[in-house]
Symmetry: C2
Subunit: 490 residues, 2 copies
Amino acid sequence: MIDAHRSSVAPTPTSGGSSASLPDSLPAAPLPAVRPSVALLTDRYELTMLQAALADGTAHRHCVFEVFTRRLPAGRRYGVLAGTGRVLEALPHFRFGDAELAYLERSGVVDDRTLDFLRGYRFTGTILGYAEGEIFFPGSPLLQVEGTFAEAVLLETLVLSILNYDSAVASAASRMTSAAVNRPVLEMGSRRAHEQAGVAAARAAVIAGFTGTSNLEAGFRYDLETIGTAAHSFTLLHDDEPAAFASQVASLGPGTSLLVDTYDVRRGVENAVAAAGTGLGGVRLDSGDLGVLAVEVRRQLDELGARDTKIVVTSDLDEHAIASLAAAPVDVYGVGTALVTGSGAPTCGMVYKLVARADATGVLQPVAKASAHKRSQGGRKVAARRYGPDGRAVEEVVVSGPDDRVVAWSPEDHASADRAPDAPADERGDLRPLLVPLVVDGAVDSRWVGGYGVQNAARHHRQARAELPRGARRLSSGDPAIPTVELTLD
Amino acid sequence: MIDAHRSSVAPTPTSGGSSASLPDSLPAAPLPAVRPSVALLTDRYELTMLQAALADGTAHRHCVFEVFTRRLPAGRRYGVLAGTGRVLEALPHFRFGDAELAYLERSGVVDDRTLDFLRGYRFTGTILGYAEGEIFFPGSPLLQVEGTFAEAVLLETLVLSILNYDSAVASAASRMTSAAVNRPVLEMGSRRAHEQAGVAAARAAVIAGFTGTSNLEAGFRYDLETIGTAAHSFTLLHDDEPAAFASQVASLGPGTSLLVDTYDVRRGVENAVAAAGTGLGGVRLDSGDLGVLAVEVRRQLDELGARDTKIVVTSDLDEHAIASLAAAPVDVYGVGTALVTGSGAPTCGMVYKLVARADATGVLQPVAKASAHKRSQGGRKVAARRYGPDGRAVEEVVVSGPDDRVVAWSPEDHASADRAPDAPADERGDLRPLLVPLVVDGAVDSRWVGGYGVQNAARHHRQARAELPRGARRLSSGDPAIPTVELTLD
């Protein structure tokens, strides 16, 4: 049906004109769309720094790197950590195999000594971090990677890529599920994100309270509930709307959701109930003034006797649109673009900073950038969240000081040295430690990965969010929900 | 050094408290971080629509789907298409293998008939589209997928994911390289995007004129130039800055770029030239008032005799920051966050719409959503760009009408029926057809894939951008650079 040489089609790039700037030969068969090793998902400078450090001997200095963010996106009251499980899943695949090493060699990125090191690389250090799903604030030490410089520096880009994207999505998603109160929110944004990012976004959304996702790969990888209705193309494929609806109901049963806004919504609802009967599962509205339409459609469904048929709304929803529909008879929200792009904050500003390293005598010393801008606090931290007598969080405590004292610090010590030692403590204690072990001596704790890890994280998020102060979940701009307090040990 | 049971570390989630909502068993070994099949990077509804259409016989109707966007991001004057080559690279991997089919079966997504169809699925249709790197406007028919409903509908999510993300990045990147005029711009944003999105972003950036990327996987996959300097952690790893600089120069040579803002910039520049000599390749500034600092550092470098040492600036640059540094003695820009997040527009609003399908007698009929909102024009389109006598684009012509006439339409026909037939035509003709064949009967044209495809696309983008009207490259908000004109054939 298509003639590739028809005149309305432009010639291919090398069939005419100069090809002087193009290679002489066509490429060999392209690489697979994805590759098993994640080791090259890395900035070049990590490998060249490694080369220099291997040459001068500092590569083997013991180091602690910390991930944190200096600020929340403008007006946001809290962030939600997501991606930790994906970091742990990726870690065993951070290996330099023949293909990776051959590339590094032929492109001259690093020298032979470094290639030898990379050939044997595996992470043997220890990683602590906030639990996935945890709430965070500026300065929260979200991940702590401890090992030699050589093994820890290589993870910088991969760790940040995962945590920055996944947490941006989870942070937006948590506002959406807050706004929806008890109505389910479904993730449908894959098409508005990089194809692999869509999978991560679905996972992060579920951690922050979404009920399911349209993304099948996410369903497969993480045992998530997958959901879906139908597209306008399905209706348009058929001779008319009744034929399309009859086909969908015949194939998927009356419990399916029918998309009723291809032609005329009122007619669409009529056709839908005619096709499925009053047991129709749902109708989807994907355009128009959803608040007004939902009222009209609810009334029409009720009049037709389809009182249990749910109304699913989609169409560029974000947390504000969800909140504005609170009084409308909407049963389910489907969210796409705003979810996968972090609703205005498509990445977190997390950084991966060296905070302590051994000196020439092997003693761990705090280090920090010291010029005027982007200062940060040197030294390893631990963190805890303080709760008031009503069980709600009141502050984030970030503890720094001499490394041995920080490592040994316990919330009980702090409680005993509390600024208000006679304050009543609620039954769950007034300080909750926030760092958990994720990788110990290179061994990944499998409770954080796969579908199990997602359920863990979702449960953790529900609980941590419920403990925020009243008002922390408002959508309006404001300061962080609780202040971060630095506690410096002597 | 770390005691996982120390008191400042929280217990793992199942070591205390209720685990009632968690599965009984820990997960088996996690899936690899990425998988070879891309077939599940798909919204569930595509498979359930397929199931219904297979059952009613419409799955085999011949269809044309088109990708287009209804509008550009607010104030943008043009978009840049990127991702086409990645779509073509992914296509051979869109296969349902045993793992994918077993998942679909056990999760009950589709019935046995559909599983059988999916087992044999490969795309055998034809895809035309704008050349990768092409400029586009609202309504431009960017990709046209033709085949049976069954084979074309399955590609919706994957195609949109790739084009929406990659084009968002390329559209932002083109503004950045415009703002930089002839200074090189380097891509350093991997850490602020999903780890696989970072690879795609690097590729899209190079298409839009970036010189190189820090991302090694992108270098590997697409033969891109990789670049890098050093991180603050490298300086902090060493006992002092002179030791760090000496190590980097010893390992990487004096042509390396040294990061001079860890402690004090003036001292850093001194130390840098002391370590590398006046042949030092570059210094990088990553914080502070870059315009002021660049002037001071340039003067200092010149006084020290390092007249050829380049100044590389990074630190949350976007196109506006780049433009504001036009008068500063900056040699190279490094861009991260703003690039990979589309500089305020992290996704394009591209949609994948059924525009024509065969009726029961096999005749192709135009179709379109007809309700009040999100209307679109039915029927297959072709497109061409009209040029004025000065060789600059004046309008985007989108041709629709009876399918046989649209397919047969040629720019020459239109030129002869031109509204100003006596206008002087420049030597390259006044209408340039915009659709090129990408896949013909399932066979991918390999000139669009791999590193070769990226070079093609980058060259195409340079040329297409150079032909825009004067003013089209301004950064200020405005209308699309040229209007889109619909030409409807009888």
